[in-house]
């Protein structure tokens, strides 16, 4: 059973992007492999959603920083 993520406070999320991405990929693999109890599937799905949000968060932040650094060209 994966540990459900702690509440992601506004502060920097604990996991780095790569860690979140790695775990998300693993979650998807296990869901697709099947053979899970109903409860496990649900918990895993929730974990997957949380991780996807986290990755999105990182990518949005990166996009903002890139835009911020854009010179006035």
């Amino acid at each position: 059973m994966t540990d459900t993520p702690g509440p992601e406070t506004a502060a920097e999320p604990a996991q780095t992007y790569e860690q979140a991405r790695e775990e998300l990929a693993d979650v998807v693999r296990r869901l697709e492999a099947g053979g899970l109890t109903l409860e496990e599937s649900l918990t895993l799905w929730e974990r997957g959603e949380a991780l996807a949000e986290l990755c999105q968060h990182w990518l949005d932040r990166a996009r903002e920083r890139l835009a911020a650094a854009r010179p006035t060209d």
Binding site: L31, L42, A52
Partner: protein
């Protein structure tokens, strides 16, 4: 010999002059090599006066010769020409002046010149002055560039104009000197020392336009080459045409083909640098953006995977399973119930078929002894024994009474009843039932 001189009996000038002349005469005839510094011919005077200079040592000596010696055909005696002179020391007693009396002057030919340069080159190369290890890198964008060149020369203009265009912020420390003739080398050496001493000067350019081998000779001067080797500041030479090579080119930190090329080597071109920097920034940005897009695409692909995008599929799957299972359960149950019902009916039918009730219904009766055993043979029962007779309607307690005679048939006599009424029972008279009545 005259007596030694002393304050009391000093020699007269003529004696001293004669002695000096004698001493000097002892040198005898010598071949001497040098550069014609000055050359003066007074009208058609028989004697030509010139000074022979040693460029490496910055010394010179007066030489006189007969006009024919100087005007020998094939010998173009000009100032700055390198010559080899056969001469004797001559002390002109009348004025006490020393000079060399030349009897033959040979111009040092081009081949000779080149050979001389080659000798010097090998000498200096052997000393390692030309080793690439000694070459110092040029500063990227020097604030002050030292330039040694002829005043208002084309070379000067090329260096200054080109450098300023490329890097407007550059400043120059100029040193103008002769770039040809006997004291060219000395002038350049002087400039080198001055500019090298100036800490602000970050690089020194020695620039000179094209010229003949003789013109460029000062730039193969051993003294100058050593001076360049000794400078701390990097030196760039731009001497003569691209094809000319002078010794300074070998010792310089960088050899530029032309004065303009020297400017290109010494200062970066500002527009080019800006484009370079902009290019690098753009590439960096593109790389980061590209990586970002790639990750975004990946995340997108993961999020659209069915397991994440449509979780209900998971549930749906299970719901269907449950439905199917329920269906099967119901079906199985129904079958079983039906089967059970059928069995029941069969059983009931069989019971019904087997059960005595129907038989009794048809008028038969069942006789049981007290202990419940069925009486099938009159012999089994004793006289007067109490029996039970079960008929459809119920039970009848009876007793066996064989006393009434019935025509000689021993116990067990059977009485037949009329066909059509199945029961053969005697009421209260103890006669056993008949074997079979028509059902």
């Amino acid at each position: 010999m005259t007596s030694p001189s002393s304050p009391e009996s000093p020699w007269p000038v003529r004696t001293v002059a004669r002695k000096v002349a004698e001493w000097i005469g002892r040198l005898g005839e010598v071949w001497v090599e040098g550069q014609v510094a000055q050359l003066s011919r007074r009208g058609n005077a028989a004697t030509v006066f010139l000074t022979l200079r040693d460029p490496a040592a910055d010394l010179s000596v007066p030489v006189t010769c007969h006009r024919d010696v100087a005007d020998r055909p094939g010998l173009e005696l000009t100032e700055g020409a390198r010559v080899v002179v056969r001469a004797r020391p001559d002390y002109y007693v009348a004025r006490g002046s020393f000079s060399l009396r030349a009897t033959e002057i040979r111009a040092v030919g081009l081949g000779e010149l080149l050979a001389r340069i080659e000798r010097i080159r090998r000498l200096l190369a052997a000393e390692g002055l030309f080793d690439t290890a000694r070459k110092r890198p040029l500063p990227f964008a020097p604030a002050v560039v030292g330039v040694i060149t002829g005043r208002d020369s084309a070379a000067e203009r090329d260096v200054l104009v080109t450098a300023r265009r490329r890097w407007p912020a550059v400043r120059f420390a100029m040193h103008h000197c002769a770039v040809q003739g006997p004291n060219a080398a000395a002038g350049v050496i002087d400039g080198l020392r001055r500019l090298d001493a100036d800490a602000a000067v970050e690089v020194i350019v020695i620039a000179r336009g094209g010229g003949s081998v003789e013109d460029l000779l000062p730039f193969s001067d051993e003294g100058l080459v050593r001076a360049i080797a000794a400078t701390r500041t990097p030196v760039v030479t731009a001497v003569g045409h691209e094809t000319d090579t002078t010794l300074v080119d070998h010792v310089a930190d960088v050899r530029a083909a032309t004065p303009t090329d020297a400017a290109h080597r010494v200062v970066p071109e500002i527009g080019e640098q800006r484009r370079l920097v902009d290019g690098l920034r753009a590439r960096a940005r593109a790389l980061v953006a590209g990586r970002l897009e790639q990750q975004e695409r990946w995340l997108e692909s993961v999020r659209t995977r069915p397991v994440l995008a449509e979780p209900q599929r998971l549930l749906a799957g299970r719901a269907d399973d449950v439905l199917a299972l329920r269906g099967r359960a119901t079906r199985t149950l129904t079958h079983r119930v039906d089967a059970a019902e059928r069995d029941l009916e069969h059983a009931r039918a069989r019971v019904a078929a087997l059960s005595p009730a129907a038989t009794l219904q048809r008028g038969y009766a069942v006789v049981q002894r007290a202990d419940g055993a069925l009486v099938r043979d009159p012999a089994e029962v004793a006289d007067g024994e109490r029996l039970q007779v079960r008929v459809a309607g119920g039970r009848l307690p009876v007793r066996v009474d064989r006393t009434t005679s019935t025509t000689g048939t021993p116990a067990g006599t059977t009485t037949r009843t009329s066909a059509g009424t199945p029961s053969g029972t005697g009421t209260g008279t103890g006669t056993a039932t008949g074997e079979d009545g028509a059902p």
